[in-house]
Symmetry: C2
Subunit: 374 residues, 2 copies
């Protein structure tokens, strides 16, 4: 495409509205399927990635993390926070953005919002894992936690995994009401049966798949071992930092446990409560055909998901390709365009034109008075 060539040295910018436009234009099913395919393809070539656990900066009320990863062509990182108290002041618990760059030159090619994209890629990853690990005849899912990411999980399991009924529970009935409202007005969910439950136990009873996606920064026990039923698949999505879990350790002891990147999940996942030698299987090994997933129909499987940088890498590459195909090509001046790369100073020269400085003298006088740090 010509347009991408003419912009080849520029950085592309995608806002939350741009991502919403991509979803609107393609439809939710195509977007989730495209993301799931890209994520699965990248999981299968897992050894090609230069991986590391994320770099976290913890503070009193939350955490800010950087999640870098690279293959030989592309480098990406995501900035993401986790501040559970934010919702009390009308802010999101999780906000994110990410960058995709060329390994060969270091040029950042894309800077994109990732608050919405993270919800989409997390749901797509959950679906990829469930398709590999849950019983193929799974039709009923319990969805515990009906917050910001819940609609995405519900739609991914309905549209990609074949779930026909979802049983909802949240300690905040308004969250459940919001989820119900959003899905009942969504043509993609027209065939999906939604049931509101009054307890976790009621929601989980008889479910083929149990998705937990709660956000309290405490060692909560949302799911306990007495709720397990033979053949269940647990999709444990919430709880993703030290001291933040959702699932009782006995649930893991009673399950075959699958993880994204073992070194990170041992620190951050529900796995943090178990000994360092508790056996787990990395999901990519199952997707690549190196190891089996579920051993038999009655086994309980659990995906202890914490979110891994590779999923963001996949999502950024996918959204970049879709944005260019759809003509969403807003450039952003993040990197200077220099006629001579050794003449960085040349950027400043025009501004030193004397007439220009004279024109701004009044402004500069005002500035001198205000020259204080915030």
């Amino acid at each position: 495409m010509n347009i991408t060539h003419t912009l080849s040295q520029h950085t592309l910018f995608l806002s939350p509205q741009d991502i919403a436009r991509i979803v609107g234009w393609q439809g939710m099913a195509a977007t989730l399927r495209g993301l799931a395919d890209t994520i699965e393809d990248d999981f299968v070539r897992w050894p090609c990635f230069d991986k590391s656990a994320r770099l976290a900066s913890h503070s009193q009320d939350g955490v800010i993390e950087l999640m870098p990863i690279a293959d030989t062509r592309h480098y990406s990182f995501k900035y993401v926070n986790g501040h559970p108290k934010n919702t009390a002041q009308g802010l999101s618990t999780v906000m994110a953005f990410g960058v995709l760059a060329d390994v060969a030159t270091g040029i950042p090619r894309l800077i994109s919002e990732m608050t919405l994209t993270t919800a989409l890629r997390t749901a797509a990853t959950s679906a990829v894992a469930a398709l590999a690990l849950a019983r193929p005849d799974s039709r009923v899912m319990a969805l515990i936690g009906n917050g910001a990411q819940s609609e995405f999980q519900a739609l991914a399991f309905h549209l990609l995994v074949g779930i026909e009924e979802i049983r909802l529970y949240d300690i905040d009935p308004q969250a459940t009401a919001k989820l119900l409202h959003n899905l009942r007005h969504n043509p993609d969910a027209a065939q999906l049966r939604l049931t509101t439950c009054t307890s976790v136990a009621e929601a989980v009873r008889g479910a083929d798949i149990v998705t937990t996606i709660t956000a309290d920064k405490t060692n909560a026990t949302i799911i306990s071992a007495n709720m397990l039923e033979p053949g269940m698949h647990i999709n444990g999505v919430g709880g993703d930092c030290p001291g933040k879990t959702e699932i009782h350790p006995d649930v893991l002891r009673g399950s075959k446990v699958f993880v994204e990147y073992e070194p990170q999940t041992r620190i951050e996942g529900d796995l943090q409560h178990l000994p360092a030698d508790f056996p787990v299987t990395e999901l990519w090994q199952v997707l690549a055909g190196n190891q089996v997933g579920r051993d038999h129909a009655a086994q309980v499987t659990m995906f202890d998901s914490v979110g891994f940088a590779m999923e963001d890498f996949s999502a950024l590459r996918y959204m970049w390709a879709q944005a260019r195909a759809l003509g969403l090509v807003t450039p952003i001046d993040l990197i200077p365009q220099l006629a001579d790369p050794k003449d960085l100073y040349g950027l400043i020269k025009p501004a030193q034109d004397l007439a220009f400085v004279q024109r701004n003298k009044a402004h500069r006088t005002t500035l001198a008075a205000e020259e204080t740090l915030a």
Copy 2:
């Protein structure tokens, strides 16, 4: 200021042109002085920072790094690459951008270019170190390496440190010609004498301060011990990753060596060639008055500078304050503005309006044909 209040949930964006405007409006001297003051203030409160060595991703032709740091109020990180072969294809060796966020909520407040800002903050940091370590009567500087950062170093030492003569050398005579041209047309450098030299030794002879700022990714030896003269200050700015140095180990052995953040400099600095117990002093200890800098006028001092995340933190805070004072307040939609923080899905709803989908049906058909990854 009202304007900052109304934008309080938004992220501010600063392009290279915006940074050039700030420098143009304030003047180079005020900008470098403001940066130097902010950097020095932050060095003095060094124990208040949550510090870590940068996270580097090395590839065949270069490196991409993330440099995070935080105090109790702000978190920042810089993305920066180093690809020495880039200039051959007309690209910058070093490109950078950075983010300043609130620790309490995780909201990114500022995303800014840092290619230009890094050159400014590095020069300001060199000046802060030289004012603390060089002889107060220093008037002559050798400037070895006349690439993208050289004008900034020259101006910082002239405007802040009192250097009256600079002796220039670069293996590429065109780089020196570019530097001469840029400074000879700059009123800030009207009183600065510039001399072109034909060798490093010629440039260094008789200099009070020697600044090295070369970029080859090899263990080069730009400065050797036989060039040292009593009382010199070496400002070693280039060479900032493993295997990339400029200064012969004997130069360090013959000097009192100062560093920014010892764990990082031991890995990346010219210090990498010396034993782990070779004594160094962290610059902040001198600035805070805890340790002495230069012991006597005849001592050789060396600042083995590699660039530390705190300097970017300082620069981002400074540019943020200046931009707001000057009315440069372009918001960027990096983070969604949600009426209900638990209703992230609400961002997508409007795009699902059926009429909207109908209007885009033709577009979506085209898309289906193009739906391939780049």
